[in-house]
């Protein structure tokens, strides 16, 4: 003889208010869905972009180090000794070493008709033939320098350099005017995230630089790979190895640190946008609370009828709480879908892989439910506290 409402009926009864007032339900759930969509979208886009950076890091490896001359005492430009690459190669965990040297006052042009001052910031560098392998880089077109082409007027262009010179492919032989001579383009490199300086360079062999450009064979940047487990140990001894007399004049860096810092920096933006999403969610919660309070006032006679049909106070409270939870979870679901869609569109248009963190999906739905629960609590209590006779009294 107890009053009972089955679990299934709780949902049927709770959904009734939404079914009979669809537009209102839609509008009041909109706030929550915008908030959730913003949060999921921001988390998804930043996760997709981080995934891309991390994938890049993985592909490039974190065991690349660079050695370059720093500043001498008194601010003068320092130089790396000629022995530096050989010395570094002798450090146990070092796997490969490749040197590059900037050829001073040499510029590269598409034709010989362009004045020297319009160099476009492109530097000409002499490079070891092992550079590609050390950087774990690849060519877009053509080939890299080899011991033979390194001796002849042949040049490999960085990705930005090729773009600047308007060279998109090597289907036809192309020559560029480099340091007052014609050099044949034999390759175009892929962009290199770990050595962005080389994107804006034109690379020639050391022997060719010596022969044609009167280059003295100086080293500007030495790239090296180490055993991945001993990167920091190697980093610690590099300066003294490269220049035993003046270790303080050697600058050692780890390019992957820069990428890692970018991954971390994105996190900072993310929390700002999530904060904005949370504000939208809060506003959505207020909208739902408002709708529910209105519903309780409008549906007094329904409450009275249900009490007459045998609903307990708890059943009435449960009905309005369920309605509020349904409203907010529908908003939350729509928000998760919208946010995932936004992530997909953004990531795919950037050619990234789409990553929507599961935490964002479940977190979005859970926070929608939380908002709905909090927003529905007070209206539900008011509905339950209404006495049957007050509820049945028509205005």
């Amino acid at each position: 003889m107890n009053s009972r409402l089955t679990f299934l009926d709780v949902f049927r009864v709770g959904g009734l208010g939404l079914r009979s007032r669809r537009l209102r339900a839609l509008l009041s759930a909109l706030g929550v869905s915008i908030g959730i969509a913003a949060i999921v979208g921001v988390l998804g886009i930043s996760a997709s972009s981080q995934a891309r950076l991390l994938a890049q890091l993985d592909a490039l490896g974190t065991n690349l180090l660079t050695v370059s001359p720093g500043q001498a005492l008194g601010g003068a430009q320092a130089y790396l000794p000629q022995t530096a690459p050989g010395m570094i190669r002798r450090v146990g965990p070092v796997l490969t070493v490749s040197a590059t040297g900037t050829v001073p006052d040499a510029h590269v042009f598409r034709t010989d008709k362009i004045p020297d001052v319009q160099s476009g910031g492109i530097s000409v560098r002499a490079a070891d033939v092992t550079l590609l392998q050390t950087l774990n880089a690849t060519v877009q077109h053509g080939t890299f320098l080899n011991p033979v082409t390194a001796q002849y007027p042949a040049v490999v262009l960085g990705a930005s350099t090729a773009q600047y010179l308007g060279i998109t492919d090597l289907r036809h032989p192309i020559q560029v005017h480099l340091g007052g001579q014609w050099f044949t383009v034999i390759g175009i490199l892929q962009p290199m995230a770990l050595a962005p300086n080389l994107d804006r360079a034109a690379l020639v062999g050391y022997p060719a630089a010596h022969t044609y450009l009167h280059f003295d064979g100086e080293y500007t940047t030495i790239y090296l790979r180490t055993d991945p487990n001993q990167v920091t140990d190697v980093q610690a001894v590099l300066a003294r190895t490269a220049n035993p007399n003046h270790p303080e004049e050697v600058a050692v860096s780890r390019p992957s640190d820069v990428l890692a810092a970018r991954v971390a920096a994105q996190g900072a933006y993310t929390s700002l946008f999530i904060g904005l999403g949370a504000v939208a969610l809060l506003v959505g919660g207020v909208a739902i609370a408002n709708t529910m309070l209105t519903a309780v006032l409008e549906r007094r006679s329904e409450i009275g009828l249900r009490r007459a049909l045998g609903a307990t106070e708890a059943h009435v409270a449960l009905q309005f709480l369920t309605e509020s939870l349904l409203l907010s979870s529908l908003g939350g679901l729509a928000g998760v879908l919208l946010g995932s869609l936004a992530t997909s569109v953004y990531a795919l248009s950037n050619h990234w892989t789409v990553v929507v963190p599961l935490l964002a999906v479940w977190g979005g739905i859970a926070s929608a439910l939380l908002v709905g629960g909090v927003a529905g609590l007070y209206p539900a209590m008011r509905a339950a506290r209404l006495t049957p006779t007050d509820a049945l009294r028509t205005v």
Binding site: M1, R4, L8, D9, A308, L309, G310, H315
Partner: protein
């Protein structure tokens, strides 16, 4: 021998306020199984309070109320709700049908708070609608029906659970006289089939057509007249005469 289904003993109801309103001032009334009872009174006589107290929608300030033999005094909200779900049926002047639910769903709601599953609810609701002559309108929306039809739906909702007693508060109050008469005929037929029905009305014409006729004035029963032999199964032998406070 008919059992009493509704017993009121010295029931008073005072509403706090300035000055306090005494809506019921000691009402004693017994309704037995199978009876058709009319409670008649002018507005302000305490009719609605009486039906609310009988329907356990409101607790009396003083006195005893027994529904189907159970004393409702000190019953919890859950127990009272259970009593309403299983033992009491209500018909209201304003019908109180829910928009957004079809006719059969509205009637099925009469069994909702008993925990009956939906398929059984609908099956029984269809049967009850057939009984009130609306078997062809199961899937209509309430707003597609005439007033008289809506009240039939409401009656079906009260009947579907076969409660111990059906309380009808001004069931014809919102209807034209033709529809009202047909609703009264329906209620009489339902009573002839053995259901206990209490009709609250301000209409003496309706009240006079009913054998057990109780008149309420200023919160007191001033007349409780049962006409012998005018309804089929039960006798009025158990109907106790009650004039309050004496």
């Amino acid at each position: 021998m008919s059992r009493p289904v509704l017993e009121l003993q010295g029931v008073t109801k005072r509403y706090r306020g300035e000055p306090p309103v005494e809506a019921l001032r000691g009402v004693s009334l017994t309704i037995v199984e199978g009876e058709l009872v009319a409670i008649v009174g002018q507005s302000g006589s305490g009719k609605t309070t009486l039906v609310h107290v009988m329907g356990t929608l409101e607790r009396p300030t003083d006195g005893q109320v027994r529904v189907a033999g159970q004393d409702v005094f000190e019953m919890s909200d859950r127990e009272l709700s259970g009593l309403r779900a299983w033992r009491l049926g209500f018909v209201f002047q304003q019908f109180f049908l829910l928009d957004g639910l079809s006719v059969v769903e509205n009637v099925a709601n009469g069994l909702l708070y008993r925990g009956v599953n939906q398929a059984d609810r609908r099956r029984l609701a269809g049967r009850a609608l057939g009984r009130v002559g609306l078997g062809h309108r199961l899937s209509h929306q309430p707003n597609q029906l005439s007033g008289g039809e809506r009240q039939r739906v409401a009656i079906a909702r009260a009947v579907v659970g076969e409660p111990a007693v059906i309380l009808a508060d001004e069931p014809t109050g919102n209807l034209d006289s033709a529809s009202g008469a047909s609703i009264m005929d329906l209620l009489r037929d339902l009573n002839d089939e053995g259901r206990t029905i209490v009709i609250i009305t301000h209409n003496h014409e309706i009240a006079d057509s009913i054998s057990h006729n109780v008149e309420l004035r200023d919160g007191l029963i001033v007349r409780d007249a049962a006409v012998e032999g005018s309804f089929a199964s039960p006798s009025t032998a158990d109907t106790r005469w009650g004039v309050a406070g004496e």
